[in-house]
Amino acid sequence: MTMLKLNSAAELEALRAKILAGRDPAKPCIAVCAGAACDGMDSAAVACAFLAEVGRQQLGERLELRTTGCHGYCERGPNVVVTPGEICYFEVAPADVPEIVAATLRGEVVERLVYHDPASGAKAVHMNEVPFYKHQTRLLIGDNPKIDPMKIDDYLAVGGYAALIKALTEMTPDQVLDEVKRANLRGRGGGGFPAGSKWETTRNAPEKIKYVIVNGHEGESAAFMDRAMLTGNPHKVLEGLIIGAYAIGAQRGFMYTRHDMPLLEKHVRNALAQAKEYGLLGENILGSGFSLEVELHFDVGIFVSGESSALMRSIEGNAPEPRPKYVRTSVSGIWDKPSNLNNVETWANVPQIISRGAEWFTSIGSEKSRGTKLISLSGNVVNSGVVEVPMGTPLRTLVFDIGGGVRDGKTLKAIHFGGAMGGSIPARLIDAPLDFDGMSKLGAPIGAGGLLLMDEDTDMVEVARYLMDFLTKESCGKCVPCREGMQQMLQTLTRLTEGRGRQGDLELLEDLVEVTGLGSLCALGKTSGDPLKSMFRYFRPEYEARISNQAANQAADQAAAGSGDTK
């Protein structure tokens, strides 16, 4: 089907009305999750089985099938959600498919596949009853089960691109910028820097040519929410980007994302092409006079390329070496032009801020951290997955109510935030609220939003060694403190874990953390010591014990060797 270019907001609304008129909300729809984890559990076979069953019984008129992005509850995939009613089926196998189809046609539920409470056995049928979902506020990720990411019409059917219409037809760029500033939208990529101020800097920079960039690199280990967002609902991110470009006055946009997720690439490419066909990208968008081209770029598998200035070098086609930020990239970025970079989740927040207003947005969350936050919940947790909660939600809600606590009946030892440049806090701080500034003060900044539970058996020295090993491989190697300092920290931590600790190792590590933090060129090196800092703050005895035990053992060994000689 060829699509027609839309020349005005009215034409887009007419199209939306037509799409909705062709859809019967009462017609059952079976949505099969094809998110990264479900895909890994062969959800494709489940989707195929549904297709075969519907074909065999010729049910096309009575039943809708949809392959979607991540639903969220990855631990229990493959996930299937049946509407109306948002009936959730978990761990669905191809063999379960005929039963689900039959029950759906009869308006019944397959009881054995719904959620059962592990303790009481109580059932939860609908999404809003399932503990994993019911404590969440799914403003960003909630549309995922309703959308086939390959179909722009599905996004239009849930109200997509209405915010763009509002921005282009009812607001000036300054008004859009002002709305985002008043919403106090803070960057979701790690820094928590106010997006509005960043936009303003780029907007006010003297150069006429300006760029906007989606950072979809998501290099933080055990962070997977941005992929879930971008793969599952690419148009939401794109809509945010177009609105941002309008406010900033940018003519060209870049989506920078991972090369190793074939589905992600396919969906984003397709979204860009469909948006272009509808005239939502390109020349004179919806007849507004505003034009924007967006192209897709890929990281090629190294963490530092997610660092903003390194990312921009990479888009230029150069080695992704960061450059010192004495001039900000928002003033001088790609090809030395003002370049505004925000991450996937930040952009995804923009459409709802424009549609529903800054007042609505600031009514959600905590005082200095507004809105919701996507969290990748994993590690030694019962229910891992993609979670969305209002900022300010106590960690206890995330860990226990949503996450179901620690796996295998163990107790919680630590909560780790922010991947290899984040930090670990002890279980006793479980009532801390999820808040940019609060978590930073505790030494476990939210980062992009990867939350890991660590159980009682976790060796914190080994965790630090593991994280440092990860980072040394991801360093670009340009500056001395990052390249050499991290290597020396890794060697020292490796010695500790292997039982070869020396007196003075902790002081050595502290020196290296300090010098690497102060001296390094980019954020990778500057924050590489943060996990260790948090360890020294909360788990120091564990490190001290390693050294004193090891030093004692070595002394004993030497004594034993000595006495052997005299015999």
């Binding site: 190294i302 530092v304 080695a319 450059r323 010192p324 004495y326 040394t472 491989k473 991801e474 360093s475 670009c476 190697g477 340009k478 500056c479 001395v480 403190p481 390249r483 050499e484 300092g485 991290m486 290597q487 020396q488 060697q491 050595l508 020196d511 290296l512 300090e514 010098v515 102060l518 001296g519 390094s520 060129l521």
Partner: protein
């Protein structure tokens, strides 16, 4: 050009807009140590030895002076307890690779660095990139480049280009703080186009030696533990 006055080590220093703190300091005869800096090359910010303390708008930060632009009224301290500590540890880190490089030995003395603090891994190269950048920016030959990333990063002569270009140049040898550029080149020569040196010396056995085809003596290495 507009004059900017800043304070470096208690001294009022005049500089022009667009200059870096390092340039302003050098102009005022204030010494800041550098390893990867070269006036003919674009500032690189790799060795971080030129780090200084800057107080601007009431905020103290640590910046590398080779890249930090001068601003009116900023207060720069080229030495402080913290600055010295950073330099000391950086020198110690580099001495794990090149324990006897003369410049590092001198810096170690000045900053009290312990050359044995870290286990030796004598690769000799400190990855200052002078050879790579000089070959690129001044000679436009790109006969030597960086390969790999992080701790395994190396410089590497590209035999195809080196065979054509290096013989008559070899200018990077004298820039190298550790003599490693020369060693790497000779190794490339031996592996990729051996025999050239002998052929050349036979052909020119009786001719006056041409000055540009020199091999600079490698700095004598003191015996280290």
């Amino acid at each position: 050009m507009s004059e900017i006055v800043l304070n470096i080590d208690g001294k009022e220093v005049a500089a022009s807009a667009g200059m870096t703190v390092l340039q302003a300091a050098q102009q005022a005869d204030i010494h800041i140590p550098t390893l990867c800096h070269h006036e003919k090359l674009e500032a690189y910010g790799g060795c971080r030895l030129c780090i200084v303390e800057v107080e601007a708008r009431g905020r103290k930060s640590y910046v590398v002076s080779c890249l930090y632009p001068v601003e009116p009224g900023i207060v720069v301290r080229t030495r402080s307890e913290k600055v010295d500590k950073i330099r000391k540890v950086l020198v110690e880190e580099l001495m794990a690779h090149a324990p006897d490089a003369p410049e590092l030995v001198r810096l170690a003395e000045e900053y009290g660095a312990d050359r044995h603090r870290f286990d030796k891994e004598t690769s000799f190269c400190v990855l200052c990139g002078l050879c790579v950048r000089y070959c690129d920016e001044v000679k436009h030959k790109n006969a030597v480049g960086f390969i790999e990333n992080g701790a395994v990063r190396e410089i590497s002569f590209i035999p195809e280009i080196a065979a054509k270009e290096c013989w008559s140049c070899q200018e990077c040898f004298t820039l190298c703080p550790t003599s490693y550029a020369q060693a790497a080149y000779l190794l490339t020569e031996a592996l990729a186009f051996p025999g050239r040196r002998e052929a050349h010396s036979h052909a020119h056995a009786h001719a006056t030696p041409e000055p540009e085809r020199r091999v600079i003596p490698i700095t004598p290495v003191a015996a280290t533990a």
